[in-house]
Amino acid sequence: MAFCALFTRLLSASRPQKNGDSALAGIAHTIIFWATPEDALRLGAASAAANCLAGSPGATRLGHIRRLQNEIRLETIETGPEHFRYDSFLRSSWSAQEGVMKKSIGDNMIPRGWSFEQGLELVKKAGYDGIELWLGEVPWFQMNTTDTQVTELRRKVENAGLVVSNVSTGLHWKTPLSARDPKVRAEAIRIVERELETAQLLGCDAILVVTGLVTQEVPYNEVYQRCLDAMQQLTPVAAKARVKIGCENCNSEQRFLLTPREFWTFLNEVDSPFVGIHLDVGNIHDTGFAEQWIEMHGPRITRIHLKDVMKKRGRCCDTVYTSLFIGDNDWPAIRAALTKVRYDGWLIAEMEARYRYAQDQQFYDTAADMDRLISAKL
């Protein structure tokens, strides 16, 4: 199914089409409903070759498909055949676009008292490509913001020369998917559904979800089971919206899915190409190494949050997070890991440590840091 979407994308990429392409469209339709990924590739290659003979733009398409086939072979070797279907799809379609990673920053960074439009202007001037919208954290984007108002937000973003990189929310800290109270869980599910709906309206294909919270009160095994249930319940909604759910690794605060392998197992159990990881390289603290998480989850990474972290200096809020390159993250290793897994998606600044003065300056400084990271001159 996933490959089929990709295949149709390949088809549409090379328009205008000639005669042979109507046959291709028929084949693509067949693939969407019936073919396995392997069959899809075979059919795709065959039809592209046929199109070449017909003198249509299929030659380019054949090149695309051959390259894709090579990537898939490589991926199958790396991860084993059991993840063939998802990983190949994810690698080839989850990135923002082929090529250079793009920069984004959260609208919750916009200084208090500023309007959304002022914030967008600043984001654009500072050199970002997109903006992350935080549901429930800014006055302009709340749970009761109507569809029309959300569409208006999109118009403003586009008028500013930006795009929405993704939709995030911190509402699940207060209303977790893992709550014992069924009413709270239902509310948490509704929050994710609203994220998915608004992502569609905003024209982006990924959301962030804080999956579950282990507390003294609600133990790990219960949280695991409830989060699994929630994700399985939400998967069809995400698939229908064609928006991917990125479960964020909030290791220390969440006390959940603390290792990359645990996270991997969780995603395997969810077993959907529409649920991946929204990786925060600053959240790993002293429980591991961001570059290893990138390596392990590569094709399943929906988006990346960037911030630096000062290990062994306490936890949370005041002391532990800082600006890029100041903390203890091994940035050359992180950059290398991004290259290794060929991540070319969105990098989103999530600077939890804010400038106390000249807050707009943080936008410029962070953008410059991100450019430096992307250029790999570290």
């Binding site: 800290w173 069924p182 095994n221 219960e222 695991y224 949370c316």
Partner: protein, 256 residues
């Protein structure tokens, strides 16, 4: 042996024989379809009751189903019949209950069934809780109190987590910090994590079998030839999370 010689031979035409067979098969089939065979004394070892909308903790129902795997029958409450013989019936996550179902369950218990009634009222609204209390008393003469939140206090570092998770301090009961476990003393002594809001049960009738500190949260009482077991702290979620003690306690209740 020659059946004719033994006197076992019946004079019946082929047509009559076929008519008879067809009629018998038809009767059997129609009784199954219409559910008439349910009236016969069906026997079950263990039934997990699905109260549908009256089960307010779906995960609890799933927990019992997971714990019993294939060794139980899961039935919708309206399919249960008081004429059946059930060794054990479990009603998980009970919120409200249709009086007719309550009566039927009571009849089953009086006939010898061991009924485990698990309250799911911990997270209900005050009005729903009051209705739950009335229902338990009316149907089973069970006196229960409103839920007690074992985690209603506030941690010193709550402010630190103000924008994040909000862990709680455990409530103090009788001046001592309540431990987050229910201590079951029957049929075997075991500790299982409490489900945040527990329903205390009166010890006037029957015997207390589970405690949180000094709060009685589980009881058992003989009713007729059977036993009524009340759980004020749901066990199903722990069963679902594969808690070994919860499973072992349930196994003990089944095999007592």
């Amino acid at each position: 042996m020659n059946p004719k010689a033994a006197g076992a031979w019946m004079h019946i035409s082929r047509r009559n024989f076929l008519h008879g067979m067809t009629a018998s098969a038809g009767t059997l089939w129609s009784s199954r379809v219409t559910g008439l065979d349910n009236l016969a004394g069906r026997q079950f070892d263990c039934v997990v009751l699905d109260l549908t909308s009256h089960c307010v903790l779906g995960e609890s129902l799933q927990g019992y189903q997971a714990a019993f795997a294939d060794e139980h029958h899961c039935l919708a409450a309206d399919r249960l019949d008081s004429r059946w013989r059930c060794r054990m019936v479990i009603a998980p996550g009970v919120g409200m209950m249709d009086p007719a179902i309550g009566r039927m369950l009571l009849e089953l218990v009086q006939g010898g069934t061991r009924l485990v009634l698990e309250s799911g009222a911990g997270f209900l609204s005050p009005a729903e809780t009051a209705a739950h209390q009335r229902m338990l008393f009316r149907c089973f003469e069970l006196e229960v109190e409103p839920p007690v939140d074992l985690w209603s206090g506030k941690l010193a570092d709550d402010d630190l987590f103000a924008s994040r998770s909000s862990p709680h301090r455990r409530k103090t009961i009788d001046g001592r910090q309540a431990i987050p476990y229910v201590r079951y003393v029957w049929p075997r002594e075991i500790m299982v994590r409490g489900f945040t809001r527990v329903i205390p049960v009166s010890a006037k009738l029957g015997e207390v079998i589970g405690w949180v500190g000094s709060l009685a949260v589980a009881s058992k009482r003989p009713v007729g030839r059977g036993t009524l077991i009340f759980l004020g702290s749901p066990l199903g979620p722990a069963l679902r999370a594969s808690d070994p003690e919860a499973r072992s306690w349930l196994q003990s209740v089944v095999s007592v």
